[in-house]
Assembly symmetry: C2
Homo-oligomer: 305 residues x 2
């Protein structure tokens, strides 16, 4: 593949940004990749591992001369970083982000960008429970969706160029409205994360069942929840605070449904439970058929020695 | 290893029983393994795959002459099958089960067993989301716990012999009281399963977010839930109906906690969310350190092509 952007600036050097650096290098999509992270430790790690071509102490330095700027910081930090880099952006440059919430990022970032800069919010539906520059890898986006939520006046040329970059990194690109994105993700990601955090917190709290037993006898259900509940606390705090309405709506719906199932358990309504559990099985089959998960038992999970 | 039981009868030939057959064969733990399943299709599959040494149309036939009988049917079917095989059991034989709930199995099975038969309830903490005789494999129990919940008058010799079999299949054995087992498993398995089923059901129901989008953009959280929610409907219906009190207690605790987190989201209490998410991370580390899950990102999940 050929170079799509001459100079890409990654603001934030965590799992997503470092994976982008690896994926762009794999396919030769960027002439030069500049990186900035707020933490000196993260910058040193990125330097040591050679993840980007240049590491900068200041975000404004990193974006100077860049034709693509990627904001890859927690959603709650997007506004401040946009204010910081706004004056240093090159006219004609594209700014995108990788935040898990889109409307609040648009509200926070757009006012700080000068005219002549293309702002195209984005969200790769990819990740692991690990974080930081050492967690990144080139194939993270392979066969995953990269959602873009362009604004009504988005330049078509800038949009297709960014889309080509995402595809070059292995992803499939789709566009949607920011509000719709935030609702879809509340269902498929935000609510499930809060629920997993909650269940693991409950287990941690339980006094009669000691911690060591919960860990020792952690069965399939709970083990899976703990992986999700090991995700980055700052990132997820910001997701919930900025996608408040959609998350609370889905959680309300979830509680209603949970109460209906609890009632079926209490009254011994086995048919209701059986029908419900049969219906949910079909969703799993759909996800596997759509190529979005493996059909290997237990995810083909690596066995502990 | 040497033969521990001359003749083992597996009643039910699903994931757990067929994995036991493979694991016993791997280590040469049984002289002869007889099998019975209610469904003719399952019996034919077991026969075709050669999972057991003999397949029997009637459960009473399978247990005749066996020194170990394993009840591996859904928890709700344990009582009826015990009534059926009771008169055919050999004096001195051991009867165990692999149900996910222990007190209700004891209540349902014990009355049907003749004097002179050792009843030692058990539960291997192992499984995948798949079911049926084709889903079994020899290493399912490797490095997993096998919990036994012996009754107060259990014969020590019979107990240690069964424990040796479980160890021979790769598991580590622990004993506990049935009621305590049911509470621990309500936390680590039963409540998480109901929650996963509920969340997947909510997603299925949502009208504004179409099914195809939920499947298409299924992100980490939701994908993991769908695996759990693809578990066998009959098995799980029976688990909830028979471990009703403990499950409802944990779900009540869960809802209380979920409401506290929802309130933190609504009021914008970021510190509370951050502290909570940091605490749950520690549980994951504990499980990995205890060797009960892999530290590979995303479980080392097999990547879809």
């Amino acid at each position: 593949m050929s170079v799509i952007y001459e100079r890409v600036a990654l603001i934030g050097l965590g799992l997503i940004a470092s994976s982008m650096a690896h994926a762009m290098r794999r396919a030769g999509l960027a002439g030069h990749v500049a990186g900035h992270a707020r933490s000196a430790g993260t910058r040193a790690t990125a330097q040591r591992l050679g993840i980007v071509d240049s590491v900068h102490d200041r975000a404004a330095e990193a974006v100077a001369g860049a034709d693509l700027v990627v904001l890859a910081v927690p959603v709650g930090a997007m506004g401040a970083i946009a204010a910081e880099i706004g004056p240093a952006l090159t006219p004609g440059a594209t700014v995108t982000d990788v935040g898990s919430v889109k409307q609040s990022v648009i509200d926070a970032v757009a006012p700080h960008l000068p005219a002549g800069v293309h702002f195209i919010p984005g969200h790769p539906i990819a990740g692991t429970e690990q974080s930081g520059p050492e967690a990144g890898f080139a194939s993270l986006f392979d066969n995953r969706w990269w959602l873009l939520t362009p604004l009504p006046d988005t330049d078509v040329g800038a949009l297709s160029r960014l889309g080509a970059l995402c595809q070059g990194m292995g992803a499939t690109v789709d566009c949607m409205d920011a509000a719709h994105h935030d609702l879809v993700l509340a269902v498929t990601s935000h609510a499930p994360h809060l629920i997993a955090y909650t269940m693991v917190g409950v287990a941690d709290d339980l006094r009669r069942v000691t911690d060591s037993e919960v860990i020792k006898y952690s069965a399939a259900g709970f083990r899976d929840f703990t992986r999700i509940a090991a995700s980055d606390p700052v990132m997820w705090r910001d997701v919930f605070l900025t996608n408040k309405e959609a998350t609370l709506e889905i959680l309300g719906r979830f509680t209603e449904e949970l109460f209906a199932l609890q009632r079926a358990i209490r009254t011994g309504d086995g048919d209701m439970l059986h029908d419900y559990f049969t219906r949910t099985r079909a969703i799993r089959r759909g996800i596997i058929e759509a190529g979005q998960d493996t059909d290997a038992p237990d995810f083909g999970r690596v066995r502990t020695p």
